[in-house]
Symmetry: C2
């Protein structure tokens, strides 16, 4: 019976509509504002219907996470194929990763557990500057004999901060970083950057 197919197609369509609605809310209002009733509003149903398609709210976010990984993988594949040497390919892969994180900002936040809501203050909390000031001061000292520009110090500060914070974040959300890798990456990176700063 063809009507069965039509109904299946309709069901698949509302499944997609649910995901689209959820992504829309995530983009417009942030993930913390995502609610089942808001999704229901957009797809013009009542909330319980969503549970016919997804086990719960988290399952919807999981599906979007999956979608994010697919989009990212596709973009990376294309980027790699556009280059000829291995080194260029590797660079292109990471540039693509970087670009994805901003063109699909909300998906990236979902995929890697980044919260934007709290601690966006920045101003109004002087304590935030304590560690930052100490680090930039220390970097300046290491570069003492070379009269570095403010921009250069800033660059090294963010280079340090990025790798340390990045490694921490990865460890916090995923506990499966292979044994010993943390120490190796951290030690080598710090030593490497200090070396690069000096010369």
């Amino acid at each position: 019976m063809a009507s069965k197919d039509r109904i299946l197609r309709l069901k698949e369509e509302t499944r997609v509509n649910i995901l689209d609605a959820a992504l829309l809310i995530g983009k417009q209002e942030g993930w913390q504002a995502l609610s089942m009733r808001k999704i229901a509003d957009i797809i013009e149903y009542t909330a319980p219907i969503i549970y016919e398609y997804f086990a719960n709210k988290e399952a919807i976010m999981m599906e979007l996470t999956k979608k994010g990984y697919c989009i990212l993988a596709k973009a990376m594949k294309a980027a790699k194929e556009a280059q000829d040497t291995p080194a260029k390919q590797l660079e292109a892969l990471w540039i693509t990763y970087w670009n994805f994180a901003f063109t699909e900002k909300e998906l990236y936040q979902l995929m890697f557990g980044i919260e934007v809501n709290c601690c966006v203050f920045e101003k109004s909390i002087p304590e935030i500057e304590g560690p930052a000031n100490m680090l930039t001061a220390s970097i300046k000292e290491v570069m003492g004999n070379k009269n570095p520009t403010e921009d250069e110090v800033c660059k090294w500060y963010y280079t340090f901060w990025s790798i340390v914070h990045g490694l921490i974040s990865i460890n916090h959300v995923r506990q499966s970083v292979p044994d010993g890798i943390n120490e190796q990456v951290l030690k080598d990176a710090i030593a490497g950057i200090i070396q690069a700063i000096k010369e």
Copy 2:
């Protein structure tokens, strides 16, 4: 009147109790489980009195964030003073930062907007491995002539991932990264790591 002082002291005490209770819940159940009524339960009051001490829930988390920065600053100060050369000091600062992120894991997550709840699946989503596989494969290719061990490839993979993800995270939660720094850090880091891989 001394009774005024006693009352002020009591008020200060419950203020501290509120913060302690909030931190306890954050540590035991995660920040997403923090609620005003749970705090009230612990300090043996009802929820509305918390609003005599803090404007709202976010203000409590802000205060804990501030506390986190103070603890971190203090530890970093001590770490720096324990070293004599600028290079050693710089290294000690970052090691201290790293250690803080794990000994005060929950505070760190509050300070830098790390969500742990979602996307902790890891298993059960094969899509997650697509990008990872492409990147490690590409790294292997760049190292093609040197027969690298699995561990070495893994190290470089995490080195790359950490710095890129770290820089992205920082940009997502704080929009105040100075102009041009992103490009500089990203480009130099990628080039530097590829260089280090090759030699």
